[in-house]
């Protein structure tokens, strides 16, 4: 019986060899070189309306946030300041909503997406709802300096009773690749 017990103990030890958690603490790995550091204070290649400093990078026509909402009402020509090196393969991304509050007054809209003044895309908004721009950024429209202005140009907008010009609800604008 003792032999049997000894064999059972060896068996259990083998079974338990990998058992349990171990404290695994690692050193810092070698740092990769492509990802730029995060800097909330400087223009980025992308600006979401959740960014803590939207107003700092808004050039025009982006209204103040309403109660901390992750979106902003725009005027007729919302434009933001971004930073990205000019290169091939960049795409323009803009997400916005045509909301009943203004759309009921304006009816169908034509939205031109302007990159540093160039028209990079045209969106026909025939109904209320979400729209996404995902178009290649024309290389010739990109500023070599890296400072870019990206905006929407609406063919019409609604003037609300409080005097604000309401265009669309903007969620985000920027570049992807």
């Amino acid at each position: 019986m003792n032999r049997v017990r000894a064999a059972a103990a060896v068996w259990a030890a083998a079974m338990a060899a990998g058992c349990g958690s171990r404290a695994v603490v690692s050193a810092l790995p070698e740092q990769r070189g492509i990802l730029p550091p995060i800097d909330f204070e400087r223009p980025h290649h992308f600006l979401s309306m959740t960014h803590p400093h939207v107003d700092r990078f808004a050039v025009r026509d982006i209204h103040p946030a309403e109660g901390g909402a992750p979106w902003r009402w725009t005027g007729r020509n919302p434009t933001v300041r971004l930073r990205v090196s000019a290169r091939e393969g960049l795409r323009i991304r803009a997400d916005f909503v045509t909301a009943q509050e203004s759309f009921a007054h304006t009816g169908p809209l034509t939205v031109r997406v302007r990159l540093n003044g160039c028209v990079a895309a045209v969106v026909k908004c025939d109904a209320e709802g979400e729209y996404r721009v995902n178009e290649e950024a024309p290389l010739e429209c990109l500023e070599r300096s890296g400072e870019q202005q990206l905006g929407l140009e609406l063919d019409k907008a609604h003037r609300a009773p409080d005097g604000r010009v309401l265009g669309v609800i903007l969620l985000r604008m920027g570049f992807t690749d």
Binding site: A14, G18, C19, L28, I38, T50
Partner: protein
Amino acid sequence: MAKTLVLILLSAGFTAVSAWALGALLFRALKVRLYRQEERLFALLTGFSLLSLLVFGLAVAHLAYRGVFAAVAASLTLAALWMRLDKTEAPAQAPAPGRYRMLFAAAYMAYALLYVVHAMKPEISPDGAGYHLGHVARYLRAHGMAPTPHDMYGMLSQGAEMLFLFAFAYGRHSAAALVHCVFLFVLPLLMLAYARRRGFPQAGAAGAILAFAAPVTGVSGTAAYNDVAAAAVIFGCFYLLEIWDETQQNRLLIPAGLLAGFAFAIKYTAFLCLPYALGGVAWRLRKRPAELARAGALVSLAAGLMTAPWLVRNAVYYQNPLAPFFNAWFPNPYQDAGYEQVYRRVMRTYHEIRNPAELPRQVLYRGDVVQGLVGPVFVLAPLALLAARRREGRRLLAAGLVFALPYTQNIGARFLIPALPFVSLGMGLALARAPGLLAALVVLHAVLSWPAVVGKYARPHAYRLDGFPVRAALRIEPEEAFLGRAPSYRRARAIDRVVPPGAAVFTFSGIADSYANRDILTGYYSVETRTVWEMFSAAALEGSRPAWLADFRFPARSLARVRVVETASHETNVLGIAEIYLWRQNALLPREAQWRVTAWPNPWQASMALDNSAVTRWNSQLPLRPGFFFELRFGSPRIVDRVALLLQPLSHASRPRLEGDTGDGGWEVLAESAALIEWGEPLELRRMVNEEMRRRGVFYVLAQSGDAIYADLDAKRRWWGAEVVWEEDGAKLYRFTEARR
């Protein structure tokens, strides 16, 4: 052509002869009383277990050379001849009644011919030519066992693969398939012999043909799979225990234990053979504790001899004796409990079986989703319950129930094969009083299971034997022409031609690994390969890209450590951090060499959140639970007032809290919650993947048209830094070079 055929037949033949010689030596030493037919069958089965163990030992000792295997085969064959192991004085069993003998012989011969032709044709079964023989080929190249941390299938027990290795060394793929086919031939003979011993040869002959001709048995048993081997070994163990029960020859418990352990060594899901054997012994000897201890020890030690090598190998190689499963019990860097949960869930539904009523249809006659079918006559399987009128019937049904249990975890039709012999014999017994009906049922099953007939009712993509490929089996049609019709083969061969020796290739989905003499790293097979897969997804798939920050702000504190602690639960979401950033007064803290990082779960990948790459990440692997944490240690205190996490993936269910250690060793809450900021997808994610792949030494990637990444990789190859080095319709092999900025 002739040389190939001779090598195939000799390799498989010598594997069987070597196994039989080992088994015959064992039975001669044991001096147990059996019938002649039983002696031969059990010698072969237990011999397979011993040969598998021997090959495992040779592989561990890195003696897996063709010459060594040839010497072993020659020695065992000569020993068998020298010792006249073929001679026996055991009595023969009483023959089965003439009509049933004829029926059995006719069906057996017809199907045996079909099966041998299929086993001899060039092997291209998905798993056989993939991982089963992929690992065999790897071991042969390395001349021994080697860890496969990137492949869950290499972590499974490989008792059958050890036999395949012995045959593969000379006869390559078809020899391995033929070895499995030997188990297929043995199974009905064992069933018949058992039934003859128990006095119901007619029912036995019928049951044997029901199991033997079942389409799923044929398609698995003629490929380099292991299901039929497991079934034969399980039935052999059952049979030996029945003889032991009848004759009380305790020495029979040694081969029974060997087979119980070998069942586990062949396939994890056959592990139930051991508790079945021990349970049977315990029940029989429940009133004789001293005998029970002795008998239990015999079974356990013999089984342990077969199971321990695999458990120890896995404990040593993978920190988990039961790898790639039970990772929650044995956490390790190679497989994770989170993916295991997903895998198990998928195996229980195969993605498509949502309606329980569909499962019987699939298993009986459709066979596409569950990868095989048992044949329509098994709709009468519930009749087997009538066999419970007899003691033998009750035992068969009990065993069938036990060995069907793993089916609850994997609904593939192959997972029914171990229970099939018991159910088939039960059906035979149930209908034994209506021999005409039973014979008609067997004939009907034999007709309905013939490939040409199956093709008329099964789904077009059912996994089954197709045709009678005698030209391919005899190599009249060249192997290259036959195999070349399979995309997975062409892609494997292309890898061999294009990729230099020693280089690894990443693939998102499986190919016929065994035909490529390169290391194939397949997408979902391991933590490492899933990490690579997720890197590609993070770069290319919308919704997978790291675009959101969890931003914690708090009054400046001097901290020795900070940690992010999850406070929420969710059934599927995980917590994932691509990068962590810390600030003091809007100045980003530079990372310092003395910083250390840990986490739970998945501490092994914690440092990936601090490598300044947005495509690598730490994640919890397991679905969210309160208490999961990610911890950063500064070495010496640092003043911090802001911490942000670049999340990957974004989980709306996650509620992380930030805690800090001010130096007294305790944790205090710095911020109960984080603001969620959409920071935007970092640019040049594809170039980051390129950098990471080259850093890992993986320069080649095979993308196939079903892969989610296929279109992006093709359309944006210059941004990936990937050049096409080989392509065909639906597949491209890329080499990663320096990516373009």
